[in-house]
């Protein structure tokens, strides 16, 4: 399947994977797939080629995640801020999206076999109409699958997502569907695009940048953040293992703090 690379892990990868799986594993991993353009520059190819390699790496990473039992992955594919890029680059990225979503729809059998539920999160009306249609078809076709979940953030920023959720809550109060006292942190959780997913346990950003760039700000406030200097198209199984090991080293501290936060929210909401 084009979105999930076929194939199994090598013997060594499987062995190391089994060791890591002996410890606590993240159930939901988020990726900021940064570094495609720098990779293209490094390899002296066109930027579009860098983005294309980036997509291939996504397919490979999803395969590794499935092999490691990580059933939910959220990726930052395209930010609302990225519309500021050159028309050529934006058009190239839209063409890539068209190509990949069309391909996805041709692989219905494989989607069923893998049981992948695809969700696309973002301000979709900003996208070209034909892409919105392809996205809608892909999401509808896979909405009942539940073996694994792929959330693609496309035309997304966290602030837009949060503002949108607040607008919905305000509308609910205006319409008399909600009391003002119903507005709470947990209601906000339910109004975000990610309401059907648990918060990410682990957020990985590649290419060495150490910022969140308006990605899942609310949802990752207590997640393990791992910044890795490798460029996204060069991401390896070992990079993923390294990130998971870091998650495991932070696990008990973060569990403890999350429980504290949950009980605080419970008493205050």
């Amino acid at each position: 399947m084009s979105w999930i690379r076929e194939g199994e892990l090598t013997i060594i990868e499987r062995f190391c994977g089994n060791i890591i799986k002996a410890g606590p594993m993240p159930k939901h991993v988020a990726f900021i797939m940064d570094g495609n353009r720098r990779y293209a520059q490094k390899c002296h190819v066109e930027r579009q080629q860098g983005h294309s390699q980036g997509f291939d790496k996504l397919a490979q990473t999803l395969r590794w995640c499935l092999n490691l039992g990580i059933r939910e992955v959220t990726v930052y594919a395209f930010s609302i801020e990225n519309f500021k890029r050159s028309k050529e680059e934006v058009d190239g990225l839209m063409d890539l999206a068209r190509q990949k979503f069309s391909r996805l729809l041709e692989e219905q059998e494989n989607l069923k076999k893998h049981g992948v539920c695809i969700r696309v999160l973002g301000d979709l009306p900003l996208l070209p109409l034909d892409i919105q249609e392809l996205i809608a078809q892909a999401v509808l076709a896979t909405r009942n699958y539940n073996k694994c979940f792929l959330n693609v953030c496309f035309a997304y920023t966290s602030r837009h997502e949060i503002s949108n959720a607040v607008r919905e809550m305000a509308w609910g109060v205006e319409q008399g569907l909600l009391e003002p006292s119903d507005v709470s942190e947990s209601l906000l959780d339910k109004c975000l695009y990610t309401s059907n997913s648990p918060d990410p346990d682990l957020l990985i950003r590649t290419s060495g940048e150490v910022r969140l760039s308006d990605f899942l700000l609310w949802q990752t406030s207590h997640s393990c953040l791992v910044f890795q200097s490798v460029l996204w198209p060069e991401y390896s199984f070992w990079n993923l293992c390294e990130a998971i090991l870091r998650f495991q080293m932070n696990y008990s501290a973060l569990q403890h703090l999350r429980m504290w936060t949950d009980s605080y929210s419970f008493w205050n909401n």
Binding site: N18, I19, I20, K21, A22, G23, S79, I80, E81, N82, F83, K84, R85, T157, S158, R159, I162, G208, E209, V210, R211, L212, S213, D214, L217, W218, T220, S221, H222, S223, C224, L225, V226, F227, Q228, S229, E242, L245, R246, Q248, M249, N250, A253, L254, L257, W260, T261
Partner: protein
């Protein structure tokens, strides 16, 4: 089979914890003393071949020469710090200091706040997950004023520290700009709920600990921030 793998996993994590403890110990050794250069080399070698080598944005250990005392007194220090700030390509307007360690140190936090002032950073936010600094803000304020006197001399009129404290009734950030930089101290790789809305573009630089933090460590982080390239989505 799973029992054996579990054992290997435990061994792996024990090694990682040991490595972390070793690095912390090497870092914590006094910078002066006999054969201190040897200890610094050992720390540097250990940090560079460490499994899970510090990710981008993490500082493994103190740079050589951290504890060299500079002559001149408070006036010279003020001058030097102001020049340090001006020498950087960019300086954060608003700095967040996030402590993930269990026991925060008021004295070290006060030093950090005073260094921020001296270097030219206008807004500083101090945060820990349990709200210890917030609950004991008067103690922190006293420490800051004390450190201000010690480090910047008696003429404090040039630097007025205003507490923009948050109580339940006023949850806003009082017109502070968004943080440009967060220095995160401690072993936990998370912002622990620090201003999630505001940190959308904030650079997050990790330091191992705020305990006994040196000005050189603090300034290295600022240098690292100055070198970060923001593309703003473009």
């Amino acid at each position: 089979m799973s029992g054996a793998l579990g054992l290997v996993w435990r061994l792996l994590h024990a090694l990682l914890c040991l490595q972390r403890a070793l690095l912390a110990w090497l870092r914590g050794r006094p910078a002066g003393g006999p054969r201190s250069w040897l200890w610094r080399r050992a720390a540097s070698a250990a940090a560079s071949c460490a499994l899970l080598a510090p990710a981008a944005g993490t500082f493994a250990f103190r740079k050589a020469g951290a504890a060299r005392r500079r002559p001149g007194g408070a006036a010279a220090a003020r001058q030097r710090w102001r020049l340090d700030g001006r020498a950087l390509q960019k300086l954060p307007v608003h700095m967040g200091l996030v402590v993930t360690e269990e026991e925060p140190s008021y004295a070290d936090m006060a030093s950090l706040v005073v260094w921020c002032m001296a270097v030219g950073i206008s807004y500083v936010s101090v945060y820990d997950h349990n709200g210890i600094f917030k609950r004991n803000n008067s103690r922190l304020m006293d420490e800051i004023l004390k450190r201000q006197q010690e480090l910047l001399g008696l003429d404090c009129s040039k630097y007025t520290v205003e507490f923009a404290n948050q109580d339940k009734a006023d949850q806003g950030t009082n017109g502070f700009p968004d943080p440009d930089l967060v220095l995160k101290f401690g072993p936990v790789d998370s912002t622990l709920g620090f201003l999630p809305w505001h940190i959308r573009l904030t650079e997050i630089i990790s330091l191992p600990s705020h305990l006994n933090i040196s000005y050189e460590d603090f300034f290295s982080a600022l240098r690292h921030y100055a070198a970060c390239e923001q593309r703003w989505g473009k």
